[in-house]
């Protein structure tokens, strides 16, 4: 295996891609350090899949220089393919083959010796809790199982760099957590991960670096903490039965903003239990009765609103 002297697994400069008049990527730079998790965060239609497809040699960029695993992607795509594994947004399994046959197909295409291949396949099926369903068609699998099979197939070739395009979208919370644990294990073993997601929470939990993609451009990039500093924190919204309560509470929380029509008060805060307890204690001390209370944590919408001035979810096109 070639080593990348710079410690850089993926480097892209000035990526551009248009479909017809639509500029999907409009000059995107991406740098991913070896052995780290990089997350491309963006709403539906932002161009995440397009970026993954370009970086994983599936489609060609209109412009831009790309190096993956130390190889120039345009000049030597086959060398790039030897270093990467891709688990796309859409299931990439053969629905006519059983789970195990899909895995063995990967073993053959990775030219693993027969015995080693079988052993590796069996171990991966076991580790991904697919051993019992191995002889069944993936058509009969649950969403979470299919994602796990998809990822297990990617791992047969033991890639150094893995692309995961929205690996948890549409999964139930338990499956999502299982997927997160698997991803963390992979990075612990030294694999580089390029992850796309629509969920801030996911990027927050997993990624070393996060880039926010909007309108074909990276509008912010940094560690999770760096990004959060850009986001107005969460808030607690208090609703009162009458104006007097609102008046009194407004004096208790100096940084808050009031809306007399709806009788609500918005108190900035990060939405943690500790903060909430503090708010309630202050209300108690001032003897104000609250009619209703909602807690709002910062989410992708907030990041988007803060960074781009528009909401993430207004872009409703192609919600699949």
């Amino acid at each position: 295996m070639t080593t990348v002297p710079s410690g850089q697994a993926i480097g892209a400069r000035g990526l551009r891609k248009s479909y017809g008049d639509k500029k999907v990527l409009d000059g995107v730079d991406i740098t991913v350090a070896e052995g780290s998790i990089f997350s491309l965060l963006g709403p539906n239609g932002a161009g995440k899949t397009t970026a993954v497809q370009i970086l994983s040699t599936l489609i060609r960029a209109d412009a831009g220089e790309i190096r993956v695993a130390g190889h120039d992607l345009a000049r030597d795509p086959q060398a790039v393919r030897r270093a990467i594994g891709v688990t796309g947004q859409f299931s990439a399994v053969d629905s006519l083959l059983s789970g195990e046959e899909n895995m063995l197909l990967m073993s053959d295409l990775n030219h693993l010796p027969r015995r080693d291949g079988r052993r590796r396949v069996a171990a991966l099926l076991e580790r991904f809790e697919l051993a019992d369903a191995a002889k069944k068609s993936p058509v009969t699998y649950s969403g979470g199982m299919r994602r796990r099979l998809d990822l297990a197939m990617t791992l047969v070739g033991d890639p150094r760099i893995i692309f995961l395009d929205e690996p948890t979208t549409g999964l139930d919370p338990r499956s999502r957590r299982t997927m997160w644990e698997i991803i963390e294990e992979l990075v612990a073993a030294g694999t580089t991960i390029f992850l796309t997601t629509q969920y801030l929470e996911e990027a927050d939990r997993l990624a070393d670096r996060i880039a926010v993609l909007d309108g074909g451009r990276i509008v912010a990039e940094g560690s999770s903490d760096e990004l959060k500093r850009l986001i107005p924190g969460g808030h607690v919204r208090l609703t009162f039965a009458e104006l007097g309560g609102l008046d009194k509470a407004f004096t208790v929380f100096p940084g808050s903003s009031r809306d007399d029509e709806t009788l609500t008060l918005t108190v900035p805060g990060d939405g943690r239990v500790e903060t909430l307890r503090h708010v309630l204690a202050a209300l108690d001390a001032a003897a104000v009765t609250v009619d209703d209370l909602t807690v709002h944590r910062p989410d992708l919408d907030d990041v988007f609103f803060a960074l781009t001035g528009h909401s993430a979810t207004t872009d409703k096109e192609d919600s699949r």
Binding site: S56, T57, L58, I59, R60, Q78, A79, R81, R82, I84, V86, G88, F90, S91, A92, V93, D94, S95, L96, L97, E101, N102, L105, D108, L109, N110, H111, M153, G157
Partner: protein
């Protein structure tokens, strides 16, 4: 080296698909045989005597018919190839293959070889049943080799064309439509009836369309009837269509995949 290994892997995948689609595979294999039996036992009584008279009394209808059925079997095989390629290209795993360090054309090679093998089995079935119902070819070993060679060329030509159709149209229905000519043009050729026995317009078409020289050559090789320059035309058509199908399929496969 890895091209051969990868193509073999893909061929194995293609074979497993045939097994999983057992009903379709079987009906594909049996259709030409049923077609032949239908022509022999239902239409044979009406067409047979005219054919026999036209060839100076030497050729029975089953002898006349078998080469045409063989060509039809190749056509039917390619139709199912087009459909299976179109269906397969929708499988998510194709995108995965494209990001793996495997020989680029191995998926297609697997399909072409798999389809060729299925069609060869279907041809063997046709010949076997034809022999049972009275087919008596006059061909010696060299002529048999020639006939098999021509059929192989034809399979190659039709399979590549079918793969190109399957890659371009991207739906089972579309692929089936696109390969209609390969399935039904033989009906309007010398396969079942001599063109000079047909009404004038159709007869003219039948005489000049590619299937007629191919079938006439096959018939000549198997039965010893005169071939004339049909042989060159037949090989020319096959090679031309193979090249067209191959180039078309290659460019269609190398295009950026759409979603």
């Amino acid at each position: 080296m890895s091209a051969i290994a990868d193509s073999t892997t893909m061929l194995r995948r293609n074979f497993t698909h045939s097994v999983r689609y057992a009903a379709m595979t079987l009906s594909g294999l049996l259709l030409p045989v049923l077609m032949m039996l239908m022509f022999v036992y239902i239409f044979g009584g009406a067409i047979g005597p005219a054919i026999s008279a036209g060839t100076g009394g030497g050729v029975s209808y089953i002898d006349y018919l078998t080469p045409g059925i063989l060509v039809m079997a190749v056509g039917a095989g390619s139709a199912s190839t087009a459909v299976s390629v179109a269906v397969d290209m929708k499988e998510g795993i194709i995108a995965r293959f494209r990001t793996m360090a495997i020989s680029r054309g191995s998926v297609i090679t697997g399909q072409v070889v798999g389809s060729t093998i299925r069609t060869l089995v279907s041809l063997a079935l046709v010949i076997g049943v034809a022999l049972l119902v009275g087919f008596r070819p006059a061909a010696g070993p060299v002529a048999w080799l020639g006939a098999i060679g021509l059929l192989a060329l034809l399979i190659l030509a039709f399979t590549w064309l079918a793969v190109a159709f399957g890659l371009v149209v991207r739906s089972a229905e579309g692929a089936n439509m696109a390969s209609m000519p390969m399935q039904f043009l033989p009906l309007v050729s010398s396969a079942f009836m001599a063109p000079d026995l047909m009404s004038s317009g159709i007869g003219w078409f039948a005489a000049y369309q590619p299937f007629t020289p191919i079938i006439d050559t096959l018939r000549g090789l198997l039965l010893g009837t005169p071939i004339g320059n049909s042989g060159y035309l037949a090989v020319g058509w096959c090679l031309g269509l193979t090249l067209l199908g191959f180039l078309w399929a290659r460019s269609a496969f190398n295009r950026d995949p759409r979603r």
